[in-house]
Structures are given as structure tokens and as C-alpha cells.
């Protein structure tokens, strides 16, 4: 059961960016609301669940999502479990799958193919084209 102290902490967390947004304009309000919602969600849902939710319009290979988190932790260290997932984290996941290899086809199962790290897995840029070359 949520305590009064926890409720106030959550409310404060969510209100702060919203207040900044009010001061900065309507566009920022939308950003602040999104951010506040993400922070709230981060308190109650696992990061894996939130990544699947972020890409709710795609069918993700579930074991691959778990593997991505493990590989990310191995490379960059532990992920703060109660902070929103960064855009870089989410797009790196996409780069680590076969999504772009298949022309960003949203109807296909998105399979994890390996942690996207060009230092370790070389010549694996799924977007580069060499058809003018050899």
C-alpha cells in the first residue's frame, strides 16, 4: 500500500517538470507531462516491461529483450531501474535487432541479433549502403 510519504514523493517528482513546462510554454508542457508519466511508470513497471511497452506497435522477441538488458549491463553497467528509459537506450535496442535489416517492417517479429556496438561487432551498420561500391 502506498504511504503518504511515497505519494508526496511521486507527486513532487511528477509536478516538478510540469511546473517547468508551464513556465516554458505549451510544447514543454507536453514534454513535461510525458516525462512525469514516464517517471511514474518507472516506479511501478520493470524496465523490460517498459521497453516492450515503448515499442508496443512491434512484436518483440521476448528472450531477445532480456538478452539486450543483460548485454547492455555488461557493457555500460547496471541500469537505474526506477528511471525512465533514455531514447538512446531504446534506439540502440532497435539497432541491435533485425528490424532495419528488414526495411523497418512493423509486421514482422523483431528479433534481437546482438548488442549494437560497432567497436565489437564490426561492419554491422544496418543502414549503410555500398551499392555504388564493389
Amino acid at each position: 500500500m502506498i504511504t503518504r510519504r511515497t505519494f508526496l514523493q511521486i507527486a513532487g517528482w511528477c509536478a516538478a517538470p510540469a511546473a517547468v513546462g508551464v513556465l516554458a510554454g505549451r510544447r514543454s508542457i507536453a514534454w513535461a507531462v510525458d516525462r512525469g508519466t514516464a517517471r511514474l511508470t518507472a516506479l511501478v513497471r520493470s524496465p523490460e516491461d517498459r521497453l516492450r511497452s515503448h515499442f508496443s506497435y512491434l512484436t518483440l522477441d521476448m528472450a531477445g529483450v532480456e538478452q539486450y538488458f543483460a548485454d547492455h549491463q555488461r557493457t555500460f553497467g547496471p541500469l537505474p531501474r526506477h528511471l525512465p528509459l533514455s531514447s538512446d537506450f531504446c534506439t540502440r535496442y532497435l539497432m541491435s535487432t533485425d528490424f532495419f535489416h528488414h526495411g523497418a517492417d512493423e509486421s514482422r517479429l523483431v528479433r534481437y541479433v546482438g548488442f549494437y556496438d560497432p567497436d565489437l561487432t564490426t561492419c554491422n551498420n544496418p543502414m549503410a549502403r555500398f551499392d555504388d561500391a564493389d
Partner: protein, 490 residues
């Protein structure tokens, strides 16, 4: 400790300090022109580190270079490598030439000073340097006159590049680069757009290690000593009479008819100052370019189809009368996939980098301090001339971005503490000994058996990447030195 000179079995014809671009291109041409009996000693402060070792010890290499200088109160980073091949181990292999007007800034725009030589004086050496590096470049013209086509065909444009090219056919080109667009017989694979070029994981970009190592290891005229830190030049009667260096805790002295400093713009002036060679104010005018990133979100145009990390160069803000009052800029179009986190628009983002020239400021300088092996670096900020260029960018963007379907963009303001990875100025080239350190042949004005090579001799720096010009100057210096009429090759 000071020990007797190491037994070098007599004097050398040439002592080279450093093994990066400036030294290696000089050595290449020197060995082509010199007789079979010459003896060359190369003193390299770093060790010869294989490519695989460098990949595994990147942090160590960065710490080593950071520890080699005193930056004092200035937190601005200066990127270089203390290793055989120097900064060729960490460059991005961008190889545009300077424009002809870059050599005539005073004559054409009334700004700073002219170089004592012209684009035409360097043209054949630019071509030779491009051949040695197997540079890939545009096949449909270029912003500067060329006597030969590029050795390799251009890299593939991204789709935004194609839009730039349609709108600015004479001001937008494939980036010339020593990241090859085709595999090279000697073993360098084709660039495959990993996008981490400072440490190219497949050893594709040109480095001294992968392409000119044979000069040091296979030519019997050359002796390479790694781990040898040059600490002092002995000068008497306007001649360098000895080069003191420390290796494995032992100080030695080597002697040669000719000494060439090819360290970098931090260490070249440092060694001159330590030798008491203050003519022409070595150390003053340390500088590099200033860059601003612009992140553009596109509407309906995907990006990242190019075949290398940086695919296009824009000259829209380079030449023109604006250069009388504010800095020229070169625009880089980036192809490293940094995605938008937005459904269906993942690839609709473009990073542009605007690189502004700077002018030398006397307060930005290298001095000697208490440490006999470390230069002291003083850097405050870039010039007002550069800043005026930067300040103008937002109003210039309407014209520059016109070919693109722009949804929004963000200008990421420059920070004077960031770096373009270039180290320039400090031992200026010129005709007047009162205001320059070396002449147009890169020979010290007073000490005539001493050459200074590299980006330290640039009187002005242009917005263009400096490495190809450094290499061309070194080829020319060796050629001039050993021209048959001088008789020095025998």
C-alpha cells in the same frame, strides 16, 4: 642521469623527431631522393603499438597523451597520441585540401596574413599525398583545382546529401577521405561505416602503422628508436649540434647534419624554447577550429544510407566577402546512425557540423615550465573573428537547410573547451624572421640545419581539416631540400 652519448657509430645525416604524418611523409620523400648511403635516426617518444593492442588499450593511450602536457587552468583538451605513427592512430581520416584563397587571406580579404607559398606551389604534393593515402573523393568536380583525379571513387551519398547536391552543385561534394571506398591491395579493407573512426576497428583508414611502417622497419638507412623522449637541442654557432633524448632512464645525445622536428604544435615550440631559439616567438598563436553541431529532424526523408561516417562537405559558408569580417565555415554531413526515437521516423534525422576557422591569438600559447619533458599550455578562448562566424550561423541556416524538408532543428552551441582534434600554429612559417619561425621550405630562419614540420607552421588554419596540407608541406620540404641543385642528397 646523464650518460655519454649512446654509440650511434658516428653521426647521422638526418635526425627526425616524431613519426606521425609530418615526419613520415618527409621521410618517405627523403628516402626516395637521398643516396643509398645516408643514415637516418628517428626518435619517437611513444612505443610501436599494434592495431589490436591499441583497440584494447584505448584509455591507456588517452591517459598517456593527457599526462604528457600541463594544461594548467585551461580544461580544453588537445587530442594526440604518444605512439609510433602519432595521431594517425586516432584521426578521422578527413582529407580535404585547403582552398587557394586559404593561402591568401590577407591579400584577398585583408585578414591575418598570407602564407609564403601558394596553392599552386602545393598542388602536386597534395596529389602525391592523396596517392599515398589512397584517398576517396568526388568524381564530379571539386572546390579546388586538381591536376589528377582522386585515387579512389567517392563514397556513397546519403539521401539528404543528394538533396544538398541538387541545390548546391558547385558547393557540395563527397567528402575526400582516407577511409577507402574500395579495398586496397596492400591490405586495408574498404570502410564499412562503423562510425567510430578514431579507433577504426577494422584498420581501414590510413595510418602510418598500416601504410608507411616499412619506411622504418625495412629500409636499412633508417634506425627507429621508440620510447625515446627528446629533451633538448644543443645549438652552437647557429647550428644544431646534438639532439638529447632520454630512453629507459638514460640520457643520450645523437648528432646529425640535419635535424627535423616533426612532433606536433605543442612539442615543436617546446623544444625550440628549451633550446633558447626564441626567434619569431615560437609557442604563440596555438589554435584550432571551432565547431557547432546542428541536429535536424527531417520530414519524410530518411538518412544514413551513405557508405562512411561523414559523407558530404558543404562550402556554402566558406568563400565570400563575409570572410573580411567573420570566419569561413565548412559543413560536414554526418552519416553515423543516431536515430530519432519516434515511430516511423527513426532515420529522419541529420547531424551537420559547421567548422569555423580561427585566427591566432598571442595569449593562446605553449611555454616551458619546470618539467623538462612537458610543455605548459595556455588557452583562453577563440578569436572574435571565429565567434562572429558562429554567431551568424542561425541566420545562415535558412539558406543552407533550404534543400531539406526540415521539421525542426537544434543548434548545439559551441563550447570553447571542446576540440576538433587539431593542434595548429606556434611555429609559424613566413618570409620575415621577425614574425615567423621557419621559412617557406620549413627551415628555421637562423638555424639553417633545423627544419620544423607539421601543423605548427600554419600561419592561418582555414576551416578545412589540416592533415593533407601537413603531408603535402612535408613532401615539398623534402623535395626542395634534396633537389639536385642543392647537392645535399649526395
Amino acid at each position: 642521469m646523464v650518460s655519454p652519448p649512446i654509440d650511434h657509430d658516428g653521426a647521422f645525416d638526418l635526425i627526425l623527431v616524431g613519426s606521425s604524418f609530418a615526419s613520415s611523409f618527409f621521410l618517405h620523400r627523403y628516402l626516395e631522393r637521398a643516396s643509398s648511403s645516408v643514415r637516418v635516426l628517428v626518435l619517437e617518444r611513444g612505443e610501436l603499438r599494434e592495431h589490436a593492442w591499441q583497440l584494447a588499450h584505448r584509455d591507456e593511450l588517452e591517459r598517456q597523451s593527457d599526462a604528457a602536457v600541463n594544461t594548467g587552468q585551461s580544461a580544453k583538451p588537445w587530442i594526440f597520441r604518444v605512439a609510433f605513427g602519432g595521431s594517425s592512430n586516432c584521426w578521422w581520416a578527413c582529407t580535404p585540401r585547403f582552398l587557394p584563397e586559404d593561402f591568401r587571406l590577407q591579400t584577398k580579404y585583408g585578414v591575418a596574413r598570407d602564407w609564403p607559398l601558394s596553392y599552386d606551389d602545393l598542388e602536386e604534393y597534395y596529389s602525391a599525398a592523396e596517392e599515398l593515402m589512397a584517398v576517396s573523393g568526388p568524381a564530379d568536380g571539386s572546390p579546388y583545382p586538381r591536376s589528377r583525379p582522386y585515387p579512389q571513387p567517392p563514397h556513397r551519398f546519403s539521401d539528404p546529401d543528394r538533396l544538398f547536391k541538387q541545390r548546391f552543385p558547385d558547393a557540395f561534394f563527397n567528402q575526400p577521405t582516407a577511409r577507402p571506398s574500395r579495398a586496397i591491395v596492400s591490405g586495408r579493407p574498404r570502410c564499412c561505416a562503423n562510425g567510430v573512426c578514431s579507433r577504426c576497428p577494422i584498420d581501414s583508414k590510413f595510418t602510418i602503422l598500416n601504410s608507411l611502417r616499412h619506411l622504418y622497419e625495412s629500409d636499412p638507412r633508417v634506425t627507429l628508436l621508440t620510447g625515446a623522449t627528446v629533451t633538448h637541442l644543443d645549438v652552437a654557432n647557429d647550428r644544431v649540434t646534438g639532439v638529447r633524448y632520454e630512453r629507459a632512464g638514460v640520457e643520450s645525445t645523437a648528432r646529425a647534419d640535419l635535424v627535423a622536428l616533426g612532433a606536433n604544435a605543442l612539442f615543436n615550440p617546446f623544444l625550440l624554447l628549451r633550446a633558447g631559439l626564441t626567434d619569431g616567438n615560437p609557442g604563440r598563436g596555438l589554435l584550432e577550429q571551432v565547431s557547432v553541431n546542428v541536429e535536424v529532424d527531417l520530414a519524410g526523408v530518411d538518412n544514413f544510407q551513405g557508405s562512411t561516417s561523414i559523407t558530404g562537405l558543404g562550402y556554402m559558408l566558406y568563400s565570400g566577402d563575409h570572410r573580411r569580417e567573420r570566419a569561413a565555415a565548412l559543413m560536414e554531413s554526418w552519416n553515423v546512425p543516431v536515430l530519432r526515437d519516434l515511430r516511423g521516423k527513426w532515420r529522419q534525422r541529420l547531424r551537420l557540423k559547421f567548422i569555423y576557422e580561427d585566427l591566432p591569438q598571442p595569449e593562446n600559447r605553449v611555454t616551458i615550465g619546470s618539467d623538462p619533458a612537458k610543455p605548459d599550455i595556455h588557452y583562453t578562448r577563440h578569436s572574435d573573428y571565429a565567434q562572429r562566424g558562429v554567431d551568424r550561423l542561425e541566420s545562415d541556416l535558412a539558406r543552407v537547410l533550404a534543400p531539406l524538408p526540415v521539421e525542426s532543428y537544434r543548434v548545439i552551441r559551441p563550447d570553447t573547451l571542446t576540440t576538433e582534434g587539431h593542434i595548429l600554429g606556434t611555429t609559424t612559417m613566413g618570409d620575415d624572421p621577425a614574425t615567423s619561425v621557419v621559412d617557406r621550405q620549413l627551415v628555421h630562419h637562423r638555424v639553417r640545419n633545423l627544419l620544423v614540420l607539421g601543423g605548427s607552421v600554419f600561419p592561418t588554419i582555414s576551416p578545412s581539416n589540416p592533415t593533407l596540407t601537413i603531408c603535402a608541406l612535408s613532401l615539398r620540404a623534402a623535395d626542395t631540400l634534396l633537389a639536385p641543385s642543392t647537392g645535399r642528397s649526395s
